[in-house]
């Protein structure tokens, strides 16, 4: 059967390829997203003291180490059975918000803005961040400035931008200082200005991407995100909730103790990335989405003034839930705005400078689960320890795994819409990649960029002859 292979997928966090299979008539028969790198952290941490887990788990990724640090610390809090001091919880929340800001800024400005600014059909030699730098320098400066803001907050609180060690089991290692708070507060107006400008600009662009809105993983699915009593946007504390495409609650009040009753994991033969699914519906019918789109569909309000105004406008896109994954980009910008506003509120809370920032305890349970909303979606760390406090098993359920079924479904939808026949065009293949980018998958990239590798796509006939070939 003729097959098109996109290897590697560019401008995503990690290593992956896409295969598109054609039938004898040149129509798309199937399309798959394959993750070609293995992580292995669940295995290599076995036998290590549980207190090492936050620092160890943060090494999974160079983009979202703070998310793993937080989820891991929450799992350790659970093992120690402690309630961390309120000041520590607020400081952790600020870290999580800063992580969302810097990661979303990277996704929107660095990885995806070339598609919006230069066009899906533009020459790939131009359609990259350098093309944006040359043609839209103010947008590039804004993107850099906004990411810098998020990173600076992480660095100010955590001591360094990547792999900060400040968050520990039981809280944080040392208190926050007034001058650090004032430094961050001073940068907030500029960060809000940039985000509002980007939102205004992006909303004006949507009409030029109607075909992408229609076909970028645009289908009914379940959504999973953290929920709370106030039904506000929640990224740190709460329980898990599944809703359907009509915003009906399908499962609610799911905690760390029972998430395995609702979330199933399935290994795939052709990818190192597991697919998770809503267990009561089974693998075939249990596809769901997580991340910015799911979170905005889930909450009744953001809980901050400007983000709520934007959320109200966002909701007007559809009658029920917003289904097109193209709108992940839009949702990301609203989440950045919310994160800056919420951070501002937390920083004005006098308790943030409290000195009691860590609870100390020995293990009081043999099992612990930490859950939070990472930039890309719900993140779960689940550990078992032995009587010496050493890790026996670790299970990590990561946002991109939650989205894996939807990503595959989306790749097939886009391929059927844009890939036609025996001739390949960059624009059609870029759209197949771009639907993956909309989910901003993170495949444990650690420290290297994928864009340095060549892209080689071959279109093969049924007998194996090369009909067409594209290289980047």
């Amino acid at each position: 059967m003729p097959t098109i292979t996109i290897d590697p997928v560019t401008r995503i966090e990690g290593h992956a390829r896409i295969t598109v299979q054609l039938d004898e008539q040149g129509e798309v028969q199937d399309a798959r997203f394959h993750v070609t790198q293995v992580r292995g952290f669940e295995k290599l941490c076995q036998g290590r003291p549980f207190t090492e887990m936050p620092a160890l788990m943060a090494r999974i990724c160079g983009i979202c180490p703070t998310s793993h640090l937080l989820a891991s610390s929450k799992a350790c809090d659970d093992i120690m059975a402690v309630r961390i001091p309120e000041t520590a919880e607020k400081l952790r929340r600020i870290m999580n918000l800063a992580q969302i800001i810097q990661s979303h800024a990277l996704s929107f400005f660095y990885l995806s803005s070339p598609d919006f600014l230069l066009g899906m059909d533009a020459d790939p030699e131009e359609r990259n961040i350098m093309g944006v730098v040359r043609k839209y320098p103010q947008m590039a400066r804004d993107g850099i400035k906004l990411r810098q803001f998020g990173q600076r907050v992480l660095e100010t609180l955590g001591g360094k931008r990547v792999h900060p060690g400040w968050i520990v089991p039981g809280g944080v290692s040392h208190p926050f200082l007034a001058e650090q708070r004032d430094q961050i507060l001073g940068e907030i107006p500029e960060a809000i200005r940039i985000t509002r400008n980007a939102l205004h600009w992006f909303k004006g662009q949507i009409e030029f991407f109607r075909a992408e809105v229609r076909s970028f993983a645009n289908f009914p699915s379940l959504f999973l995100a953290m929920a709370n009593d106030a039904q506000e946007f929640s990224a740190y504390n709460g329980w898990l909730r599944f809703i359907d495409a009509n915003l009906n609650i399908v499962a609610d009040h799911i905690t760390g103790a029972d998430y395995m009753n609702y979330i199933g994991e399935s290994a795939n033969d052709d990818s190192y990335l597991k697919s998770t699914y809503f267990k009561p519906y089974g693998l075939a019918n249990g596809m769901y989405r997580v991340g910015p789109l799911a979170r905005l569909n889930m909450c009744k309000s953001a809980g901050t003034l400007q983000a709520d105004e934007e959320l109200a406008e966002f909701r007007e896109l559809e009658r029920h839930s917003v289904l097109s994954s193209f709108y992940y980009h839009y949702a990301r910008l609203i989440e950045i705005l919310f994160s800056i506003e919420r951070m501002d509120t937390l920083l004005h809370d006098p308790e943030i400078l409290g000195k009691n920032v860590r609870a100390h305890a020995a293990p009081n349970r043999f099992e612990g689960v930490g859950i939070l909303e990472a930039p890309r979606g719900t993140l779960i760390h689940h550990y078992h320890i032995d009587q010496n406090g050493l890790i026996e098993t670790a299970n990590l359920v990561i946002a991109t795994g939650h989205n894996n079924l939807a990503i595959n479904h989306g790749v097939l939808q886009v391929a059927r819409q844009f890939v036609k026949g025996n001739t390949l065009e960059q624009g059609m293949l870029n759209r197949v990649e771009a639907v993956v980018r909309a989910f901003d998958p993170c495949l444990s990239c650690s420290t290297h960029a994928i864009g340095t590798m060549p892209l080689d796509i071959q279109l093969l006939s049924a007998d194996g002859a090369v009909l067409d070939r594209l290289r980047r």
């Binding site: 560019t10 401008r11 160079g62 983009i63 990277l106 660095y110 990885l111 030699e125 990259n128 961040i129 350098m130 093309g131 730098v133 040359r134 320098p137 590039a140 400066r141 850099i144 990411r147 810098q148 990173q151 990547v162 990239c445 420290t447 290297h448 960029a449 994928i450 864009g451 340095t452």
Partner: protein, 143 residues
């Protein structure tokens, strides 16, 4: 006064790859007027700081060349071959970013120390140590 920025980059968990950041640690007291920046890798966010200095010295380890030696190259702004620029950039590309986005690229040099061992270990090899010594001897002469 000439504003000097030294950027030492590398991974301290990969043996001799730590030469750049270690060179900055050692030179910190000797070159008190310079600005020092240690990081794992160069990222686009550094462009603004690069644009604000008069002389930028990029200090890195290399697996090319005779282990234990140091090398200095003049840099000028240059578009990257593969323009992804998402997570890390080369020094010349960072200069290009500084020039394009902030209107100014400083005089710049790449100072490299040739290492021998880049495995997953902490600490320098004997040749890495020699390269570090040589880098620390050369850098003050460039300012």
């Amino acid at each position: 006064m000439t504003r000097v920025l030294l950027i030492g980059y590398g991974n301290s968990l990969r043996g001799d790859d730590a030469i750049g950041p270690m060179a900055l640690e050692r030179l910190h007291t000797q070159l008190g007027n310079a600005e020092f920046l240690s990081c794992h890798q160069l990222t686009p966010e550094l462009a603004e700081r690069v644009a604000a200095c008069d002389l930028a010295l990029f200090v890195d380890a290399t697996s090319d060349g005779e282990p234990g030696t140091a090398d200095v190259k003049l840099l000028s702004p240059e578009l990257p071959d593969e323009a992804s620029l998402t997570h890390h950039v080369q020094p010349a590309a960072l200069l290009e970013l500084a020039l394009t986005l902030y209107g100014r690229a400083p005089r710049a040099m790449l100072v490299t120390g040739a290492g021998a061992n880049f495995e997953n270990i902490e600490g320098l090899s004997e040749k890495g140590q020699e390269a570090l010594d040589e880098i620390c001897r050369v850098i003050p002469t460039l300012i």
